[in-house]
């Protein structure tokens, strides 16, 4: 109909095409803008610093895969990688369990002070980190946990706890009460109900929180840089930063190190992109 209409067809159709083209250009440009820097980084990670200095934008030729081996072995990125892995996996496991238990109690049971407790736990999400950072430093020093991966793990648990409780409470509260009544009539106790009903049913939400916590802690910088000084105990973010401080000009090696830190995230993203996106935006999408 609209195509056959007498007056606007040419203009309308032309306008339509023009706007489609403009849209396509904008979209292509933005895609280049987001992915371009990352691809540039990837090319530099398989080139030697000498090659990079000659031309920063050339395609790798040949691919110097040994860059990764050098970074991994000689530049200590293996140490950083394993430190990060240990701290993040431990912290995520603990915070998920602790947070899920608390979220379940807050979502399911009526007791005096329930909402107040929830509010207190939740509101610490907005705290600027400095309010705890300086004291945590002193406390960890007092208890001999300064400059230790255990201390950093504990701090990470506390950092992610509010968000974990918030996200899981919201999900657990939507599990119908009837399921709990049925389990109760079947003779299941409170702990068993949590283990056999809440955790399995809450698995999608728990997976989302796991991913979110993993990414945030994998990328965490401020607390790590304050609480870890020993080069052997550095996590990836502060390891990269330290390496860059010492070898500012060694762009190829920095790029390789950065790639090592990004690869786990990218691999996870390739396989679970939807889940990751949902995890990262879980607190904001309603």
């Amino acid at each position: 109909m609209s195509v056959d209409a007498t007056l606007p067809p040419a203009a309308g159709r032309g306008g339509f095409l023009a706007s489609r083209t403009a849209l396509a250009v904008v979209i292509a440009a933005y895609t280049a803008y987001t992915l371009g820097p990352f691809l540039w980084l990837a090319t530099m990670s398989v080139r030697t610093t000498g090659e990079i200095s000659a031309d920063h934008y050339a395609w790798p030729r040949p691919f110097h895969w040994e860059q990764f081996r050098i970074a991994w072995v000689d530049s200590d990125f293996a140490t950083y990688f394993w430190n990060s892995t240990v701290v993040v996996v431990a912290a995520v496991a603990v915070v998920t369990l602790v947070g899920a238990a608390a979220a379940h109690a807050l979502a399911r049971y009526r007791f005096r002070g329930n909402r107040i407790l929830y509010g207190i736990l939740f509101s610490s999400i907005i705290f600027p980190p400095q309010i705890t950072l300086i004291s945590l430093y002193q406390i960890l020093v007092d208890y001999g946990l300064y400059n230790s991966l255990l201390g950093l793990t504990l701090v990470y648990v506390s950092l992610q706890l509010p968000l974990t409780v918030y996200l899981l409470e919201g999900f657990f509260a939507r599990i119908p009460q009837d399921l709990f009544d049925a389990a109760k009539m079947d003779g299941y106790g409170d702990i068993e109900i949590f283990r056999r009903i809440v955790l399995p049913i809450g698995m999608p939400a728990i997976a989302t929180t796991l991913i979110l916590n993993f990414i945030q802690l994998w990328n965490e910088f401020l607390f790590a840089v304050v609480l870890i000084t020993d080069p052997d105990k550095r996590t990836l973010p502060i390891g990269i930063r330290a390496f860059m401080g010492d070898h500012f000009q060694d762009i190829g090696m920095i790029a390789a190190g950065v790639m090592i830190s990004v690869v786990p995230v990218i691999v996870a993203y390739v396989f679970f992109s939807e889940k990751l996106i949902r995890g990262m935006t879980a607190g904001a999408v309603k």
Binding site: P176, D178, L179, D181, A182, A183, K184, M185, D186, G187, Y188, I197, P200, I201, M203
Partner: protein, 387 residues
């Protein structure tokens, strides 16, 4: 084998909180199918949950087979419950759902397997045993929920509006299935619903509740023909009973511009003290006729009013009429009835089809004719009068 006795059961939330169940006194006999019927918020579900052990009993005594159950945990009451939302565990297969309660009770695995198999066969669930609940249709889920209760072979079954999530056709099927299972198991069953059709068709007795109190307990037709008050009168039957608040004239008659009837069912002595006061006259929609002759009574009662809606339903036609006093009244008439909106019509009824209630207390005024037969005699006695 279970007799469930509720005596003076109350439920209130908080010390000064609202009383949601008020002094409920009912005994449910062994093998009985008792329906707790009432509108939402009447306390029927809370009563059921107190029987189940899912709510504490504020005061009163709950006993099963003479044993006081107030402090016995839900799991030790030997009661199974079918929930409105079915409450199937979404992460378990149908088979695991059925076995879940048994496993917890340390039933030997072979026994679990046998009972799950038997129950599944009985309910036609064998093909679904390995599926998860979300892969099932509504009717199948309902049967799994029922099966989960049956597999435990409990003393008492509780049902909390189990059919409300089904579509109309499935509801009829499942209703019949439940009746069948009740006959087969001969267990005590307590069934909560707000649907009077379910109550009438399934219950061996029904207990009508209103505002936390028991309004009436009795066999379905007894309650239907002898409602204890206006609430029960209107709650049972569709369309609900027509009620008119009218002054009681001397000489055992009601005579207003719109309504004129003799009151043959009441002894003059019973009505004498009410003469001149307001009473509530009740007539069921199916007892109203357009011709005096079709009532089969020489001195039929009459209601005059203006037709404001004609609803031909196919099998019958509903006529909505507004009387001069502004009262509305529905008549259930044969399907070939023709009537014009706006026309003034007379609706006739046998005087012994009338009900009378105290306008102040809403309680029924005991009728002579059926006062002796509040029991089973009432219904058959009336059977001839039903067209």
């Amino acid at each position: 084998m279970a007799v469930v006795q509720l005596s003076k059961i109350c439920k209130r939330y908080g010390s000064g909180g609202p009383v949601v169940v008020d002094n409920v006194d009912v005994t449910i006999g062994d093998g009985e199918f008792m329906v707790l019927l009432g509108p939402s918020g009447c306390g029927k579900s809370t009563t059921l949950r107190m029987i189940a052990g899912l709510e504490t009993i504020s005061s009163g005594t709950l006993s099963i087979n003479g044993r006081t159950m107030n402090d016995v945990p839900a799991k030790d009451r030997d009661i199974a419950m079918v929930f409105q939302s079915y409450a199937l565990y979404p992460h378990m297969t149908v088979g695991e759902n059925l076995a879940f309660g048994l496993k917890r009770r340390r039933t030997p695995p072979a026994e679990v397997k046998r009972r799950v198999g038997e129950t599944a066969a009985m309910l036609g669930l064998v093909p679904c045993l390995d599926r998860k609940p979300q892969a099932l249709s509504g009717g199948q889920r309902q049967r799994v929920a029922l099966g989960r209760a049956m597999v435990r072979e409990p003393m008492v079954f509780l049902f909390d509006e189990p059919l409300s999530n089904l579509d109309a056709a499935l509801r009829v099927n499942t209703r019949n299935e439940l009746i069948k299972q009740h006959h087969r198991l001969a267990s005590t069953m307590i069934y909560v619903t707000h649907d009077q059709v379910e109550a009438m068709t399934m219950g061996t007795r029904i207990c009508v509740m209103n505002g936390g109190r028991v309004a009436q307990v009795g066999r379905p037709l007894d309650v239907y023909w002898n409602p204890a008050d206006t609430f029960v009168a209107r709650f049972l039957g569709s369309p609900p009973m027509n009620l008119f608040t009218v002054p009681l004239a001397a000489g055992d008659r009601i005579r207003t511009p719109a309504i004129d009837t003799a009151l043959t069912r009441w002894a003059p002595a019973a009505l004498a003290p009410l003469t001149g006061q307001e009473v509530v006259l009740g007539v069921r929609a199916e007892d109203l006729h357009l011709a005096a002759a079709s009532t089969g009574s020489a001195e039929a009662g009459r209601i005059r009013g203006r037709v404001f809606a004609v609803e031909p339903l196919g099998a019958e036609t509903l006529l909505a009429v507004e009387t001069e006093g502004g009262a509305e009244c529905t008549a259930r008439l044969p399907r070939d009835t023709r009537a014009e909106v706006g026309a003034v019509v007379d609706l006739f009824f046998r005087p012994d089809a009338a009900f009378l209630f105290d306008a102040r207390t809403t309680a029924a005024i005991p009728a002579q004719v059926r006062s002796a037969g509040t029991g089973p005699a009432g219904a058959p006695g009336r059977a001839g009068a039903i067209p």
